[in-house]
Amino acid sequence: MTAIATSRRRTALTRNRLPRYAPWASLAVGLVVGAALSTLVGFNFFGWGVFSAIIYTIVYVSWSGAVEGGRKARDKFATCLVVGAFIVVVLPLFSVIWTVLEGGIKGLLTPGFLGTSMNGVSGIQDNESVNTGSRVLGGIYHAIVGTLLITLWATIISVPVGLLTSVYLVEYGQGSRLAKAITLFVDVMTGIPSIVAGLFAAALFATIFGPGTETGFVAAVALTVLMIPVVVRSSEEMLRIVPNELREAAYALGVRKWRTILKVVIPTAISGIASGVTLAIARVIGETAPILLTAGFATKINYNVFSDWMASLPTYIYFQILNPTSPSNPDPSIQRAWGAALVLIIFVMILNLVARLVARIFAPKTGR
């Protein structure tokens, strides 16, 4: 028996195969030849990578073609293309994360960065820290508070609206004109540039409460415009995949439609809806333009979304880079901006992880 498993005998069913080391050998050839070629045009790491990838593909695929035949060679070529596309997509992501980590870690680790605001921090303090080498004062506490409050209010408004809209579309609208119109408008809303959403909210509140009404709540309304279509779309998908059999089972027990929706359909879909909402939050938490237009910019801590200007992480980064606190010594401001960017990215990552966690927690249990 072992003989069959271990020895490679040639039969009508076997084909020639590349040796195990083939990919690594091709990679080595690719790297060496790639280095040589890129030196010809002036060496840099980017050129080396591109040349190596091309040479690797050529060597690996033609080797496979010679030994294994055309079908296997085409399979390997397709694999190379797919992996190449994957690398092209992932590289910028890692590059962004690396750059932000590199730039932001120093700011983030400065004592008081997360716990203090920019209140009272001016060019004088920044110049002093640059000249004497003392730690950079000022932090992002007010911006974190603003971002969290504005996003919270945007979520409070858009989740009920979005969820009820999708319930209408799936459970009641079915092919009616109103449902089609709503779907169309939701699609259009998905494409609204965020600055237009900001202008809308600013104009709306200017009309009602007079010009210059800039508060955290106005920013929340602006974000709502961006968030609702995402929530509608994702929860619509989730409600649609709830099997019709469950609805029928509830109806056949003499359960009313609204109770069926509330107690059967939504609980079955809740894991998908919750993760969709979390992703929608992650989508709007980094918006800059609408907040610039609607919440103004504050250096003080403001817990009240209904009055006065409010800071947020994206606008904080924007102003720190564009208008450094000390125009002659912008370095402390840049350090703070990178730190805030790192915090923002961490927020988004946490939200994505929360979305997965939420989906797992709410998923219908199937254990015995």
């Binding site: 469950l246 029928e248 089972a249 509830a250 056949a252 027990l253 003499g254 059967v264 219908p364 015995r368």
Partner: protein, 259 residues
Amino acid sequence: MSKRIDVKDLNVYYGNFLAVEGVSINIAARSVTAFIGPSGCGKSTFLRTLNRMHEVLPGARVEGQVLLDGDDLYGSGVDPVAVRSHVGMVFQRPNPFPTMSIRDNVLAGVKLNGGRLSKSDAQEVVESSLKGANLWNEVKDRLDKPGSGLSGGQQQRLCIARAIAVKPDVILMDEPCSALDPISTLAVEDLINELKERYTVVIVTHNMQQAARVSDKTAFFNIAGTGKPGKLIEYADTTTIFNNPKEKATEDYVSGRFG
């Protein structure tokens, strides 16, 4: 508990399409009635009109009368939701609610309607319904586990327990065994035999042996061709339908010769 059903000249439409034409049938209380016939002949459609479940599909409507102990299901002012709590239904594929435990599945009819039960009442309903569905011994130790963790046959009996927990007068079954293996099928068939002592049972089946085994009376539905409405061809005692049918079409169908 158990009520008789009388149907008079019932037509079922999907939009303008006449799906079932001119059905008149009298179903006695405490009996098992089987509907047999080829696919697409309207047996399931007709079954659904007996508790107004066809109205879930857009454009479906009926003409004619369905009387439940003399009360017209389609009279003006009749609430379809109330109809369904009197006429329960079990579907082709077992469909326990995936978010609920076995206990909550059985209590679904009460709980989803916002009804409140004391703990002892709830326990009693759960136990009597699961015993009525021959499932109690298999699940009594894991009532709080999800219903979707049961086997297909157990799930189907759980659905039957869920249907009888709301104490209906009639139980409709739409091919309840077509997704089950022979052993589970046998369990469900035994159950049907017990159910008929308390309920009126109407079952749609593609399995003629099953119809012969479980039913007192059998109705044969047929369709003249695609696009034509389904009709009730013959309705008689099950032994008559299988051994001595009046109609040629029935004889051809039950003996396996078609056309």
